[in-house]
Symmetry: D3
Subunit: 174 residues, 6 copies
């Protein structure tokens, strides 16, 4: 059985890693969809899709599980979102999410969804993590080791600190 | 004479129905433009364009008026909005609106606009109506009977309650 | 039962009208989807969506059938096309088409499709009809009377003759 | 040496004019990029790209400097923003900006950026200026004379006052 | 009076220069719209908008005429094309074109269009010019001197020769 | 060192597999970019991005090489194509391509490109392979075994045969 787990992974952190570990007991293969793939360089979405692909692929290597990492660009139309995801991903049997909108869309399309209380914690951890980066706090112990390596290599902390100082949402909107 | 009346119709309710009744005294034919046609599955825009087409068409049947119901997708560029609307709609002589931006755009393009104090009430009613659906309150008596039927058929109350629980604006942005 | 019949309807002609007549024996309600709604002012797609809405609505009045006329803009992505169509249209039970791609997409999505040998003839008639307009030939007897009226009102013959003289596909591409 | 200076210029005012004067000491030629070129008719972005082209071109005539005025539409993807700007502009050697995101994007792309304390003042002046227009206050002395002429010619004060009364961000979203 | 003259200007050549000279007798100011601004790096559209801005601005310096050079990205929708152009350009009174589609669109929108037999020659010259570049033929004497300088500076001949060797229309479509 | 190799992989075949084998001698890690990721269900682009992700991931398992498989949607603007690719991919040091446009774009952006005579053969093989599928010929021996499995599982031969019968390029354009 193949599962599908979507997130923005900005960045991929220990909460995500624990979720994958839990899901790995239930599926043979797992697709990880990187949402909002086109977004980057903002305080909420600091990393590019390519940078996130690297974080995930390196962190997933420790599991004995066939994984697929797929960037998914926004289509900004909820009514076709499931079809869009399905066209970008290897066919999957079950989706993992705790986001009410994602659940509603998958269920209207007849896709089985499994929830987990761990999801909510992840969201909080993502926000906390980015804030610590901005504040020069301690964040390295909240992410798998390869993620810390990627962020260091690309100058990720500098980047999020710089753009957090911006009062605009896009470069064309200054 | 043909009139044009645009709204998001999320959902079509009694306030809209009264407006159409009032307009029907002034025109021979009426085009109803369904704005933000691509939006759905959010608390503010719960219904798809197709669902709204059905609500309007069935509710308009009671009037002795030739009507056209036209979904209009957003183009996100105010300067070409009037041309976009005109290309999607049968040619019209007068537009009905109370939205200051819509009025400004039509008037700059040389289209006659008629205002009505009823418009403002409609907007309030739409917000009130959606909140009642979310709160499991009494909403059926605020909409024409065929609209209640459509909403029941598609599980509309469940949908808006589920997505209202979401803290995100789009499925790709969870 | 509700059926769905899609075409570009450039313009709506007698072949389409005969198809609708045939379909009307099989369904209670019929949705007519106007494909490539954003295209206009080319030799192959001379008329705007709004002009085509008017042609169809007026021609369908002679049938005792509840109809919905829905412009559908291109999304240029086959994998989400069915979802896009479904979001723009009242829910339908069966689709009518003879286009192999449309059939394939609907069938992969689990939608029943009915074919008809009349479809092929329509396509030929559409091409023939536009050529006659360009050549100032006799075309009025190939379309329902209201369509001839719309085309005359908008100066449609002049338009197609002028743009047919262009060697470009878009105004920005001269 | 050719410089690049980007802004929304809604409208072009004395703060911008002083910046150009200061930059003119450092460069031989200057490209002025009009950001968010597709936005107009909102309280924050009242003027079209074309109207802003006219404001800038006429105001720049007083400098003895070769200038290029280039509207730049938003691409809504920070990761390709620098390439987009570079493709729309004559090749430049140095960019002038105080926007942290713009600086970050240019620097990641290896483009030299020069900052100026004058920038921050400009942003404040733009907001103040638009508010004065809305409030029928005194604004003419905050802009170069040709800008006041353009705004008067296009009925700009009326426009911003009308759309400021709107509680929506787009005509399709009423 | 202000005129508007649109072309792709790939590249700007002597035929264009003669047209501008002729138009300069009829107008006080002239807007030059650079069409298909987003296209580049193909045999038919080798140069970026920014490169073309530079070619035009430098070539126009010899005329005693106020000119505006405005890149215009394609919108791929003929029905809103005139509005799009008008929003990107300073307001103009008359358009110059010999392209039947452009003429039709402007005239349907009520804009006066002036034709010139020189236009057709230009188109032929553009094609001929690009072919000579590809074939390493003599092309420098067909363009104003500043254009030859720009093309040399950016390695334009190398570029068109390289991409002409490609059997694909886009980098993503190889 | 990390390499980047882009193709449409419609489908992934033995020629691609040999290229990867050859490249694997030169790099430590390899990113495979799936171009035109949004295209599917046409004779030239029969498979979705997700289907191609599965083909590649399963075929690459036999190599002792860290690989990343990244779908890349078209952006239809050559001037920003390199930035787009770079944002979707883990950072790479060298690109492998024989497509003249791809080479030109990467080289203008300062990216090292390596060519191989094997590339041309691949393109021919892709066309040949799809034709054999359409003609019910022998194709299985031209692809790695896992690819044949994927194509069988999704009914790929039926699909390409059906859409090859279509005379249109898109469902909305019938």
């Amino acid at each position: 059985m193949r599962g599908f787990y979507i997130g923005r992974f900005q960045p991929y952190h220990n909460g995500h890693q624990h979720m994958v570990e839990a899901i790995s007991d239930e599926v043979d293969e797992l697709v990880l969809g990187i949402g909002s793939a086109g977004d980057s360089h903002t305080p909420r979405n600091p990393f590019t899709a390519g940078e996130r692909v690297m974080m995930l692929t390196k962190s997933l290597a420790e599991f004995d599980l066939t994984t697929y990492v797929v960037p998914i660009e926004d289509l900004d139309r909820n009514s076709v979102w499931v079809s869009h995801v399905q066209s970008m991903s290897p066919k999957f049997d079950v989706a993992y999410s705790n986001n009410p909108l994602v659940i509603q869309l998958f269920e209207e399309a007849g896709v089985e969804v499994r929830r987990s209380p761990m999801f909510r914690r992840e969201v909080l951890e993502g926000t906390e993590l980015r804030q610590r980066m901005i504040d020069d706090g301690d964040w390295e112990n909240l992410v798998p080791e390869p993620v810390a390596g990627v962020i260091e290599e690309i100058g990720g902390v500098d980047r999020i600190q710089h753009v957090a100082d911006s009062d605009s949402n896009g470069a064309g909107d200054d």
